[in-house]
């Protein structure tokens, strides 16, 4: 199955999308387009509406205003279940099914889609190889027998298993130790280049955004302040963008400045 973008070539498009919880507006006026092969990173501080925006795309939350198009079709015309099976979803806490083996976890969507068993088995092997896990060693393990990094690899394999044209990732590497995180970021970057998927990736880590994104969407207070290419972002005059760039250089010079810097890079 190849990505099947809409007639305009886009996988995902948001037009002036908003989300309200009661009377409180969480997200408003968000518009962006993502084509196959592109990775849009939604960057912002905690609580700026990045995750909410992501959940609006696969209808874990319902938009209050605006429109979303998935593969050129209005999102509301899609059956929510069908829609979600065409959108891979990876979250920080992974959410592997603890009572299922790695093999069963990865095979989840193909089995839901009633693929023939032989094809499911083959696909699981491919996916585990893709994320760098030895099939013989890991297929029969339970999630509790994996390290954090291995779990997230399985999470990515599971999200890709049914070959969805769109991939949503919510701080997938946020809970990992720095070394494992760097390893997975690098590998994922390679993977993203090969796969030709439309990827929307939420993070609060500019370094990660610069590494992974073909575009960076900056969120402030529930709004998309701007969409930049990575080098454009570094030169931006926007105050929030500057704040992120400054935090980056602060992190690099930690050894000759005050200890408070380590705390600025942590998740709030």
């Amino acid at each position: 199955m190849n990505p099947a973008p809409g007639s305009d070539g886009l996988a995902v498009e948001l037009r002036n999308v908003g989300y309200c919880l009661g009377k409180r507006q969480i997200v408003g006026g968000v518009s962006f387009k993502v084509a196959p092969g592109e990775t849009l990173v939604l960057l912002g501080r905690s609580g700026t509406g990045k995750t909410t925006t992501l959940k609006l795309i696969n209808r874990l939350l319902e938009t209050s205003s605006g429109e979303i198009f998935i593969e050129g079709r209005p999102q509301l015309e899609w059956d929510p279940i069908r829609l979600r099976r065409r959108i891979g979803y990876v979250i920080q806490d992974v959410g592997l099914f603890p009572h299922w083996t790695v093999e069963q976890n990865v095979a989840m969507v193909p089995r839901l889609e009633a693929w023939p068993e032989a094809r499911v088995g083959q696909r699981v092997r491919e996916m585990l190889e893709l994320v760098g896990l030895d099939v013989a060693k890991f297929a029969a393990r339970k999630p509790s027998e994996l390290s954090g990094g291995q779990r997230q690899r399985v999470g990515v394999a599971r999200a890709l298993a049914a070959d969805p044209p769109i991939l949503l990732m919510d701080e997938p590497f946020g809970a990992l130790d720095p070394v494992t995180r760097a390893e997975l970021q690098r590998e994922f970057c390679e993977l993203a280049k090969r796969l030709e998927k439309a990827i929307i990736f939420v993070t609060h880590d500019l370094r990660e955004a610069l590494l992974i994104g073909t575009h960076i969407g900056l969120f402030t207070e529930g709004r998309l302040a701007g969409i930049y290419e990575p080098d454009e972002f570094l030169r931006s005059k926007d105050a929030e963008a500057r704040a992120f760039v400054d935090s980056l250089s602060a992190g690099e010079s930690w050894d000759r400045s005050s200890p408070q810097i380590t705390s600025t890079r942590r998740k709030a």
Binding site: N58, L60, I81, R82, L83, R84, R85, I87, G88, Y89, I91, D93, V94, G95, L96, F97, P98, H99, M108, V109, L112, K142, P143, S144, G155, R158, A159, L168
Partner: protein, 226 residues
């Protein structure tokens, strides 16, 4: 029957041992045990059929939760003899006999089953549910493939507690003519005969222990290894 017992009572005073009593009355002990088990089984079946689906429903209905769990709690605090008494005048459910007893036992069994089902399902890791929903599982698939397998141990623990309560409380059912092992206990109290009381109490205790062991084994078999 009554005369026979009166006669036996005299015998006991003359030193007939408890064991002899058991041997002489093995037929009735067996049939009362069976009666007891049937009362408990019928009540538990009803409690499980109502309690588990209701417990599942409570996870999604916040407004219902307080009322349903509150009511079940209140029922639990009613003394068993009083509950049997209350039910006798109730049309359709009440009256003298096994039906009333089964209704009362089912009401007692309801709370542990309801509460554990609710606690078990509500305790499933939210990240697991989010990924299940996000990857396109239907509500039904989430319930059967994720929520129930992950909470089965907690639900079964509730069924076990309910079962023990039921076996104990069912001895009171004899007071409203429902039979069971309580018949011996009430008779023994009336006759001031320890042998007769024990003929009801010991099988009831053994029943509770045996059933608990069996359910413990089932629980272990059904709990998915994490």
């Amino acid at each position: 029957m009554g005369q026979k017992f009166a006669a036996d009572h005299e015998h006991k005073e003359e030193g007939v041992s408890f064991l002899t009593f058991l041997v002489n009355y093995r037929g009735e002990i067996f049939s009362r045990t069976l009666e007891h088990l049937l009362l408990v089984a019928a009540a538990m079946l009803a409690a499980v059929l109502v309690g588990i689906p209701l417990g599942i429903a409570l996870v999604r209905r916040h407004n219902l939760r307080r009322w349903v769990l509150g009511t079940a709690n209140v029922i639990q605090t009613i003394p068993s003899l009083a509950l049997f008494g209350f039910l006798i005048p109730v049309p359709f459910l009440g009256g003298i006999g096994a039906r009333t007893a089964i209704v009362a036992l089912a009401l007692y069994a309801l709370l542990p089953i309801l509460r554990n089902t609710y606690t078990g399902i509500a305790g499933v890791d939210p990240a697991v549910l989010e990924s299940a929903r996000g990857m396109g599982m239907t509500q039904r698939q989430i319930l059967w493939d994720v929520q129930l397998p992950l909470s089965i141990a907690v639900i079964l623990a509730g069924v076990r507690v309910a079962m023990i309560i039921c076996i104990g409380v069912a001895t009171i059912a004899a007071a409203i003519g429902a039979g069971g092992l309580g018949v011996f206990i009430f008779r023994g109290v009336a006759m001031v005969s320890n042998s007769v009381i024990l003929a009801g109490a010991i099988p009831a205790a053994l029943l509770a222990i045996g059933v608990d062991l069996i359910l413990g084994w089932v629980e272990e078999k059904l709990t998915p290894k994490a």
